[in-house]
Homo-oligomer: 314 residues x 2
């Protein structure tokens, strides 16, 4: 028997399959099946909105386990909510797929989507499926932040300590698919007002730190010896040093944020009491507008330039 | 000089170009440029969420004027907001495009996006660009409805009169790109509580009416002589009758809704005072669950079956 494809099943049936057990959840008034979803917003909070997309051949490959495709698509958006200190609540999934795609692959992708959504108490309230030449997932998220309490990139002040969660580099070995977005941590940073600015590490430490200091109108000094390097980056034998990987590899999806120097000790104590996740001070904010410098172990100083992953230039 | 492509310009520059004048607007706290957008929701209203996608080769073609590609992508989402009586407020645009796409084409698409967004006082607060083999626009919209006042597909009652705006059929001649979403009308229908159920006509009258009666657990009789037929459908000489086009062609993006019989005269008067847009009673809701019948001029009766545009089955 040939496996069922999207072509043989059809769009309506596909949507019914994918949304059969969905759309309930706290505050959902109208789930999948009507012209739009309707949810009840939380009182006294601002609304956070974000979309992101992953495309076959760019962010994942034909051989990628489909559950992790779904996981990654959602986790990337949740990571952006983490970066602004927002709580994600609702997702819409826009799926583009060739008609020849096996239904089993799509179902497995959605299992990945639903698993991470459930883990964060996020409801999938709607979506769309379209025929396309290439598999892609566009994920839209809505959530909320305390009124006026959004954690922006632009609040870092000279003297603030730069902190980073987890360990960096070498995510291509697997972490770029299976990472856990730091939603709880971002939310806590914003609600307890520990952080002055934050960003999630999607383009690599040097690039994302450059974004943060540009938005804040400041500079940054990073101490090479303090940057936490992932085991996956240590293991690579590709001619680049582990610190280069930690600075330049994309898709770490850890949080980078700044904490006022005076608060840093009480912050570290509170963090360790609350989370079972490493957090490292890696440097400090300077007055050198737009300049990110790396201070090496031998005290030599290096300018770290932007290293944006430019989607259309590769 | 060769025209600039996305490849030569790069993603960061592209996003800067596209969002340069954007992100302001009522209630926008954080626009493009941070990890997510943040907006202030309106008090006492529920939140409406919708996404939709259009893909080159399916919903538009290489020769389609790019402004109308942008217009259509947004107008489809606004039409869904109209169908539930919601006011659209904010949009996020997720663009997938080959690196070889001329920048001028993308800019023109965004001019179309911004023009219709501005016309409806909707802010483009964020978005994403990804490299892909095929041009596609995934549009996410957020808006609001009066608390508890969403206009669903499921409220039609036997005896209700079925109304439709505008004229139907033959949209492929151009209206499928240039249609005006009935946002003001949908909003008014919900806020004045005229309608018991509504849907926008994206798949064709017979299919979308089938959706409405299925959701409502009722049936419908449509009088062929009362269905307003678009001039474009009258002109087609393709072997199908104009009424067939009006019943089965997709992408009319008019509103189909039901009004209690007792209210129909005051509704018609109020509508004509308010809108310069035709509205036609085309039949009535019956107790025949799941059955849509067409009553022809010669009093013959025809069962109109579902005619869904199944994306993966074409």
């Amino acid at each position: 028997m040939t496996p069922k494809t999207l072509h043989s099943v059809g769009e309506r049936k596909l949507i019914q399959m994918l949304t059969a057990t969905r759309g309930s959840g706290a505050g959902v008034l109208v789930g999948p099946g009507d012209d739009a979803a309707v949810v009840r917003p939380r009182k006294g909070r601002d609304l956070a909105l974000k979309c992101d997309a992953i495309v076959e051949g760019v962010h994942f490959f034909p051989a990628t386990a489909p559950q992790w495709i779904g996981h990654k698509a959602v986790a990337r958006v949740l990571s952006d909510f983490a970066a602004i200190g927002a709580t994600p609540r609702h997702l819409l999934i826009s799926l583009a797929a060739p008609a020849s795609t096996p239904v089993q692959r799509i179902r497995a992708i959605y299992r990945g989507i639903h698993k991470i959504a459930d883990a964060h108490s996020v409801s999938v309230v709607g979506g769309e499926t379209v025929r396309a030449s290439q598999l892609a997932l566009h994920v839209f998220g809505a959530g909320d932040v305390p009124r006026g309490g959004v954690l922006k990139r632009s609040g870092a002040k000279p003297g603030d300590i730069i902190m980073v969660t987890g360990a960096l580099g070498g995510s291509l070995a697997g972490r770029h698919l299976r990472f856990l977005p730091r939603v709880e941590q971002g939310r806590w940073l914003a609600e307890k007002k520990w952080a002055t600015a934050a960003v999630d590490l999607s383009d690599g430490l040097s690039t994302d730190l450059s974004h943060l200091i540009t938005a804040s109108g400041v500079g940054a000094d990073v101490l090479a010896s303090e940057v936490p390097i992932a085991a996956a980056a240590e293991k690579l034998r590709d001619g680049k040093s582990p610190i280069e990987h930690a600075l330049k590899d994309g898709e770490d999806f850890e949080l980078l944020f700044t904490v006022p120097r005076a608060k840093v000790e009480s912050f570290a104590t509170a963090w360790m009491r609350r989370f079972d996740l490493a957090v490292s001070p890696i440097g400090f904010i300077t007055r050198e507008k737009g300049v990110v410098r790396l201070i090496n172990d031998d005290h030599s100083v290096q300018n770290i330039t932007f290293n944006a992953y430019e989607h259309f230039s590769h």
